[in-house]
């Protein structure tokens, strides 16, 4: 490393090539949130930056965890999050309504968010432990399917389709990278194509179904469910090449844009910063994800590879689905944009993913200890 020459050793070990872009993106997100709050640090921008500081420290601490600990903790962490999910479900049932979070006093925790990295961790652990020869047999898929299915079911009960799909996507990418036969994925893909219409008619809640139909034709209901998509596209489209200027976004400041600080933060940004701002955001995500995949490829053992690959997939899923949603290419599902949207759970999840990648990155550069 070049910086190793100039920086003291502990600092040099920190992967600045990912932390700097992310910090830039968070700072950019902070300015957008500042504007979304009508030109004020509170309530969004200051807590956004504070959360980043806290979760970044946490991620840095995480990056020092040894691989043994990660492997040992994999299943217990997964089990603990499943228990939390059940607890949320139970509290919701007692409270007489659906609930997605637990109030821990100092923060509001969404266990379903934690499940996104946890599913990657437990599957990496599972395929690491699976004897190499069994990778093409039922023993490679049935336990994995159970590990994915249980939390998915719990999250769907909440009901939270977006997060359930995120969990499924993270799990599926790990399975794909683990080397399961291609035909299974082709078969699975076909099965999903068949299931989608069935799920649409029998599995989805009314409000979810409406979101799908209005996604396909937002103008059919411009003041109802299509409102979000239409207003978001107006915000992005009216921004043009360089935007209307900082603090001049009428769509967000006059409340036309729904959720301008969370799910639709990208639209808020695009209105004021234009295509230039959008390309900047895409570029940063590209850098972070490319670094993540490099870490995964550089990893020596199967566990690290799958763990890193799965984390990259999780971040990617967040970013891609959110951006497709705000640009009118996906239905409105409640998925925030990593590092920019205001929200503690999302920041925590994404920084756990980044922390895990940094952890694997550290393992990669350490001499082998456990072969």
């Amino acid at each position: 490393m070049r910086r190793a020459v100039t920086l003291p050793a502990p600092l040099a070990q920190i992967p600045w090539q990912v932390i700097l872009p992310i910090a830039l993106l968070v700072a950019f997100g902070g300015t957008v949130l500042y504007s979304a709050a009508g030109g004020s640090m509170s309530p969004y921008a200051s807590s956004h930056l504070l959360r980043f500081g806290v979760t970044l420290s946490m991620a840095l601490v995480m990056s020092f965890f040894p691989m043994n600990l990660a492997r040992l903790a994999a299943f217990p962490v997964y089990a603990a999050v499943v228990v939390l999910l059940m607890l949320v479900e139970a509290l919701g049932a007692i409270g007489g309504g659906s609930q997605r979070w637990l109030n821990l006093g100092f923060m509001v925790l969404q266990p379903s968010e934690l499940m996104k990295p946890a599913i990657v961790l437990v599957l990496a652990w599972f395929y690491h432990g699976l004897p190499v020869g069994l990778i093409g047999t039922w023993r490679a898929i049935v336990p994995a399917a159970a590990l994915i299915g249980l939390p998915m079911l719990l999250v769907l009960l909440q009901p939270d389709l977006g997060t359930a799909l995120a969990i499924a996507f993270g799990g599926a990418v790990v399975m794909f990278l683990a080397g399961l036969p291609t035909k299974w994925f082709v078969g699975g893909g076909l099965a999903i194509l068949v299931t989608i219409p069935l799920a649409y008619f029998f599995g989805l809640q009314d409000y979810q179904r409406r979101r799908v139909t209005t996604f396909l034709d937002p103008e059919s209901d411009p003041l109802g469910a299509g409102y979000h998509i239409t207003q978001s596209k107006i915000a992005i489209g009216s921004g043009g090449l360089f935007g209307k200027g900082f603090g001049n976004g009428s769509q967000s400041s006059l409340d036309y844009l729904p959720e301008p600080h969370t799910d639709f933060v990208f639209a808020t940004m695009a209105e004021e910063w234009g295509l230039a701002g959008g390309l900047f955001v895409l570029l940063i995500f590209g850098l972070v994800l490319r670094w993540g995949l490099t870490v995964a490829r550089d990893a020596e053992d199967r566990f690290s590879r799958l763990l890193a690959g799965g984390m990259v997939a999780t971040i990617f899923f967040y970013a891609a689905v959110n951006l497709m949603m705000v640009m009118g290419m996906a239905p409105v599902v409640g998925i925030p944009l990593p590092f920019m949207s205001h929200g503690g759970s999302s920041m925590l999840t994404n920084m756990i993913c980044v922390g895990t990648l940094m952890m694997v990155n550290r393992w990669n550069r350490q001499p082998r200890t456990n072969y």
């Binding site: 080397g179 489209g237 009216s238 006059l254 036309y256 640009m327 290419m329």
Partner: protein, 675 residues
């Protein structure tokens, strides 16, 4: 089984597949960049416009309505600055809660609250529903403070229509109201959905809607998604509507309306030289000021239950048998048919035709009667006798020449034209031959004859001038020139002299003399029987059975300037009509004297028409409570009133089968109008 799987081959698979994953991610990234580029660059113009139309709300400012002026330029309808509140039902979040809160803040009683609920119920969602107007500033301010709790409620400062003489001009001017769903469908313009905009619903307000309306102003306002105004960007002033100037004399109209007093009737005054309608009063009436925010259920019930039909314009929609007021016209027809004014007949109280006797109102007989006496003593036998000789067609032709049964080119929504009967008409209508008794009835203005008060006034003016006077209602700056009626020789003077003798000579209405020096009035009384003698004596008993009182006149006699017709429904005879005509004509020559007389009457009656209407409303509301059916929408009301007026016309369903037996005293009055 695939070829041997090893740790190494799995690493290769991973590398391959992670490359695929990376490629997919890169692909999605490019797709997103392309999509964003497309939205932000290619479709930039479209979305810029949409963002702008989101941000900027163009709201219309209702134009100030043109004034309606009387002949001297004083307003009969004007606008006054007003604090008002409207509701847009579409934007209400909780209808009940909003109504409750509004009722509380605005101090509504139960009736007003229920009327408001009805108005909101019957409006379509985009329509503006008026809540209240004429608020004092305290209430307006109290409401403005609570606006955050009241989405869809719009308090604003605007202009409200104001009719200074209220009830006196109700039928003539009409009233305004918020546009209805039907009116918006006919004329789908955004102005009709603008809060505070009112359009004419009846009368001249409706007829001259386009002239009076004006051009709305506009205000560009930056608004939030919830409709809150952030700031004004730009304002364009409204262009007030054009005023219209009527031929009506405001004070005279008001005087006549008030002078009708407790009676149900109408007064028409026409300028003989120009045809200007100076007064078209119809009473009892309603207050158009209180109709502009929608007609309340109590007010509507009170007005529609009244058997004096305050909602009907009796000048145009009231048709009455003219009684003896037709006699000057009938006499004129005799003259024109060649009868000498000196031709006479002996009246013994009846006329024998074949084996029948047709009675004169005077059972003792008038002795020898020539044309002048026939008119001033209103002798029926004289007319029976010569009509049998000359025939009905002579009379009906003259009636039409005099404007009876005619519709005039006036800007009014509804004008009934009545009936001038003749043998051809009867055959067509009833399939029966004309009989001797039909002619007998027609000569004394009974039977099938039905005219409205306006026609009677025009008829009076044509007899007064001998010219084809046409009535007009709008001052257009032109001075009309009327052609001659082409009466032969001194025929018109003969009739005029006889009419003068009615009042100034040995006639039936000596007490109709004007209390003004040097101004003589000429006229003719009429009593129209509505039921036969055996049902009622025509003067007392059930109001509906009493005789109509009629009077036509013109003055000054030697140089006719004004003609007037007064019809008092069920007044008990012509004695109820001519004192009113006398006072109204007096007002034209000596207003102070006329007003003195009126003030005396109003003391007995319990105030002016407006004051009495307000009193009876208060009493009615206290008695009725809220259990009343809601009033029909304004636009429906005019139609309903018109339909009821048509149904009320006393045209017989079956043909008349006999001559009417006239009452003995044609001028007696049932009330104390005679002084």
């Amino acid at each position: 089984m695939e070829p041997r799987i090893s740790s190494n081959s799995l690493k290769e698979t991973f590398d391959r597949r992670s490359f695929v994953v990376g490629a997919v991610q890169g692909g999605v990234g490019l797709l997103l960049a392309a999509r964003m580029g497309y939205i932000a660059v290619a479709e930039n113009e479209k979305y810029k416009m949409e963002a702008e139309s989101n941000r900027v709300n163009l709201s219309l400012i209702p134009p100030r309505r043109g004034w309606i002026l009387d002949r001297n330029g004083s307003p009969l309808a004007s606008n006054r600055s007003d604090f008002r509140v409207d509701i847009i039902p579409e934007r209400l979040s909780d209808r009940e809660a909003t109504i409750d809160l509004l009722a509380k803040v605005l101090d509504f009683d139960d009736i007003e609250r229920k009327d408001l609920a009805d108005r909101i119920e019957s409006a379509s969602s985009y329509q503006v529903v008026p809540v209240a107007s004429g608020l004092d500033f305290e209430k307006y301010a109290a409401l403005t403070v609570r606006l955050p709790e009241l989405p869809g409620v719009l308090p604003q400062q605007s202009y409200a229509r104001y009719y200074p003489t209220g009830t006196s001009v109700g039928h003539l001017i009409g009233y305004v109201g918020a546009p209805s769903r039907e009116e918006y469908d006919l004329e789908p313009q955004p102005l009709l959905l603008t809060p505070g905009f009112k359009m004419g619903k009846d009368g001249l307000e409706k007829q001259f809607e386009q002239e009076l309306r004006g051009v709305p102003g506009a205000r560009r306002v930056e608004v939030t998604a919830t409709g809150r105004r952030v700031r004004d960007l730009e304002t364009r002033e409204d262009v007030p509507g054009d005023p219209i100037r009527l031929t009506i004399d405001g004070p005279l109209q008001d005087y006549a309306a008030r002078r009708i007093g407790l009676e149900s009737g109408s007064v028409v005054v026409i300028d003989c030289l120009t045809g200007d309608l100076m007064c078209m009063a119809s009473m009892p009436s309603f207050d158009p000021n209180s109709f502009s925010d929608g007609i309340g259920r109590v007010e509507y019930s009170m007005l529609s239950e009244n058997d004096r039909v305050p909602l009907r314009n009796k000048v145009l929609q009231g048709l009455y048998p003219p009684g003896s007021t037709v006699k000057p016209m009938v006499a004129m027809s005799f003259l024109e048919a060649g009868l000498s004014p000196d031709a006479s007949v002996v009246c013994n109280g009846g006329l024998r035709v074949g084996n029948r006797v047709f009675h004169c109102w005077n059972r003792h007989g008038h002795g020898r009667v020539d044309m002048a006496k026939g008119i001033y003593q209103s002798c029926d036998v004289y007319f029976y006798h010569f009509a049998q000789q000359l025939g009905m067609n002579v009379i009906s032709e003259m009636a039409r020449r005099c404007g009876l049964g005619q519709q005039f080119p006036l800007p009014v929504a509804s004008q009934f034209y009545g009936t001038v009967p003749d043998p051809e008409w009867k055959l067509k209508k009833y399939g029966r031959e004309w009989q001797a008794f039909d002619t007998v009835n027609a000569t004394i203005g009974q039977g099938y004859m039905l005219f409205n008060p306006l026609q009677l006034a025009v008829y009076a003016s044509r007899i007064a001038t001998g010219r084809t006077v046409m009535p007009r209602l709008i001052m257009d700056g032109k001075t009309p020139k009327f052609g001659s009626m082409n009466f032969h020789g001194d025929h018109v003077q003969v009739i005029q002299n006889a009419m003068s003798d009615v009042i100034n000579g040995p006639g039936t209405a000596g007490r109709a003399r004007l209390p003004v020096d040097d101004v003589l009035m000429a006229g003719k009384t009429g009593t129209a029987q509505v039921v036969s003698l055996n049902l009622s004596n025509g003067k007392t008993g059930p109001w509906k059975y009493r005789d109509h009182g009629l009077f036509i006149c013109f003055a000054p006699f030697n140089n006719p300037r004004y003609a007037c017709a007064v019809v008092i429904e069920h007044g008990g005879g012509s004695g109820s009509a001519y004192p009113i005509a006398r006072d109204v004509m007096t007002f034209l020559f000596d207003p102070a004297k006329a007003l003195d007389a009126l003030h005396g009457f109003e003391k007995q009656w319990g105030g002016t028409a407006q004051q009495r209407l307000e009193k009876s409303y208060a009493a009615y509301a206290a008695a009725a409570g809220v259990d009343l059916p809601p009033a029909p929408a304004s636009i429906k009301l005019a139609e309903k009133v018109d339909a009821e007026a048509r149904a009320a016309i006393a045209e017989p369903e079956t043909p008349v089968t006999d001559a009417l037996v006239p009452r003995e005293d044609p001028v007696a009055s049932a009330n104390g109008n005679l002084t």
